[in-house]
Symmetry: D2
Subunit: 264 residues, 4 copies
């Protein structure tokens, strides 16, 4: 093996450090410990990157995947913050970036019948670190119902409503549970969603949504009010996107709030 040249370690003379280099779109099975202390199995799409000083020609791509495998498949909000430090060590880097996006499930009971079923969400763990600091952004993507206040106010009967997605990203002082963020968002919409609804549940959800109309503007404000009041959330960015039932385009709103740490 010693005969094989190490092209990546060659000197580069363009005097250009690289901000981030690594691997992307790598699928990897993970398990996550949820709020109820149960372990949930899922499959993540992973990005890993480090910075590269100007004098190196290339990074060593296989080491990213080795660090991922060495870390093991049980992931927690606590142990994921170790991963960028493992990358920095293994790759002799000053900064590292870890991003994992995965579907996440929660068992929910239908509001009247109590019929129980799993609902799926999207979750992203993003960690940026250097020698002195670690920055964790936790993002949840939550499907909800929105019912249009304008349509309700002007129409003699009915009101257009639709599925929407709320994307809430937060930084925090102490760890928050994914489930806490999901509930924060779901309680801000016209109604939350369920995978199983029997007829009395469907009646309940229909009437609840009609009684609680929200624009995308209301939705992001409702979430923002709760995020600001949350004792552990130090920064947030909330987006709401409605797949409008009366248009073939989407309505969208965004609020960013709180103090973000200095950019890496």
């Amino acid at each position: 093996m010693s005969a094989l040249s190490d092209t990546q370690n060659e000197r580069d003379d363009r005097r250009l450090p690289i901000d981030r280099v690594g691997v992307r779109s790598l699928r990897f099975p993970l398990s996550i410990r949820d709020r109820d202390a149960a372990v949930q199995h899922t499959v993540a799409t992973v990005s890993l990157a480090v910075d590269l000083p100007h004098h190196f020609k290339g990074t060593h791509m296989s080491r990213f995947v080795e660090v991922l495998h060495a870390h093991g498949t049980e992931l927690t909000v606590s142990n994921i913050v170790a991963m960028p430090h493992e990358l920095m060590k293994k790759l002799h880097a000053d900064k590292a970036h870890v991003e994992m996006k995965f579907p996440y499930f929660r068992s929910k009971k239908a509001p009247v019948s109590g019929a129980e079923g799993l609902l799926d969400y999207g979750v992203v763990f993003e960690v940026n670190a250097d020698k002195d600091s670690t920055d964790f952004v936790l993002t949840v993507e939550v499907p909800v119902t929105t019912l249009c206040p304008c349509s309700k106010a002007i129409s003699a009967r009915g009101a257009h409503n639709q599925r929407g997605t709320v994307t809430l990203a937060v930084r925090f002082s102490d760890p928050v549970w994914i489930e806490d963020l999901l509930e924060l968002v779901e309680s801000s919409a016209s109604s939350e969603l369920y995978s199983i609804l029997k007829r009395p549940d469907e009646k309940h959800v229909t009437e609840a949504a009609y009684d609680n109309p929200v624009f995308v503007e209301d939705l992001v404000r409702n979430v923002a009010v709760k995020a600001r009041a949350h004792p552990r959330i130090t920064w947030f960015r909330v987006e709401a996107e409605n797949y409008e039932s009366i248009h073939n385009h989407n309505a969208w709103a965004m609020i960013e709030g709180g103090a973000a740490p200095a950019a890496k």
Copy 2:
């Protein structure tokens, strides 16, 4: 150039003819003449393929793209049927397959204010041909509103509704206009969609949808009844998919009808 070996023309001894070989996911700008005799510009994603006899090792991929360029960018339901025959000739093949998928626009007036705006649809031209026959399947993807009859019937107020997509594929005896198919589908839903709706239009659309609830089952049946009665449609396949506003999964239904020509 004669010095370059022609690997594709080499003999293959596995005695396996190939059903289809060619190019895929090629983007190409096109223009389409619409029902109002106007020319509409769009961008298609193109697949082109031929069969390959067992004794040839490979096809000549560059010729597919040459046929596409030689055909020119103005496409009609009439001249697209020439393309598989051009492929058969240029590639010495017995069968050819051409598929083009593109966004298509129609200007629509809002139902009360008359405000005019473009709505986008998906259209697919698929042509399969051999020496003796040509089979054209025209597909439209139409966004619509559906309002749930069950939710309306059981709820004291409101009814869940959502955007849905209807995909209608047809074969025909004489050419049909894309616009005819779009209207056939849009008149089968709770309401059609618009890109611009002022408040009186939104009131109209909301109430019209509430007065005209349809399940995905109703929607595909409504389309099927009209497709069967259409004098030029000889075969159809209609699918409806609802992005349910109360679930994070979709409701879906399909009916196929009429006599399909023998498979190629």
Copy 3:
């Protein structure tokens, strides 16, 4: 609850049976027992459907999701065939359709260093059943390397190569392991892929691919020869798609072989 009308059970007079109706794009966590008797956790995207006789207005969508939950999350090639029968029973239907698509992982050792890492594949289980018969189609999507024979033959040095995807669907007389199909495909390409390759491995893989050039045509023929010779495979359809490194479109080929059972 008895007061709530059952709209779905109402009579429909359009005299149009519906070929398939149900739910789509539902994400659900599953576990699969693999060839090494280990249990693998993954997340599936699920479609469930039944036929609907002409005299019913609608199906009962919540029951599909109930059947899925009642089935439990451990899935095998054996117990998935029970699911369409559970759907037929619960929904009083004559036909049922179950489709589950999920990422699947296999641990592979790099060819020289023996470094071990997970590689991801796509797998689809599709089951169609009526009272008398059950039709199971197992599909694997396998990423591979292809190196162009023509480019190698005509060039003084190098040869263009690229990642490609082979999609192999099979019907079988006795169950086949997913891993058997993955190996059947991987042994048909210029090289298989790995998640971790150290430098001696990269040398090995590069030279192996250069020594074993295949067109998409060769690739589908190589797979077809093996699928025909396989004692348990009764039907197959193999597609190969190359993300050509010299074009921005893809090369594609397909062979279908063996006797398919009568369509449902």
Copy 4:
């Protein structure tokens, strides 16, 4: 119409201004004047947004689409900067955001045979404006070939190569042509791509790529060196992503450089 209440204009008491609100994922046909003074027709996916002061409950979504239609379909780097100002005026807003993403085509001659064909790229126009300033970011997505220097150096024959995508975003002092950016990127890779290559062209491209190996690190540095030297580019962000032919994940690198204007 005066009878219809204007819910959006109602007072909101949550004291939360909204950073951005508007429409998304709206498809619209456009024409672009290219460097050769020809007009090119394409289809854009459009996002339009404004800020919303804390005392308004909602924005007026239909006005965004009206501004888009009123602007007309001929778009230039010059006239698109007017659009955010039209949005601010029509929606009484202080800030506006316009984003248009579209496929873009360029006719290229194969390097030896001269065979001519269209190659497709992705382009994004993004404009953020307030009363006093306008910030335009022009982004191009360019497909290229990359051949691995390490694989070439360690292997007795061949070298793995693959399609990659380079995404270059720039701000500028004076307008730059899309074509200038495409050429800047294409000259930085192992080889540019073509839609039609005859055998002598394929030989040329294969050998040229072999003679010019680049890592993703080299590729972003090559682009960065040229972007820094460009007299009109004041800021850039370049990313390169390789669809590695030996892995099922991607290699990725990024450099950002130059002085960005103050964030809006």
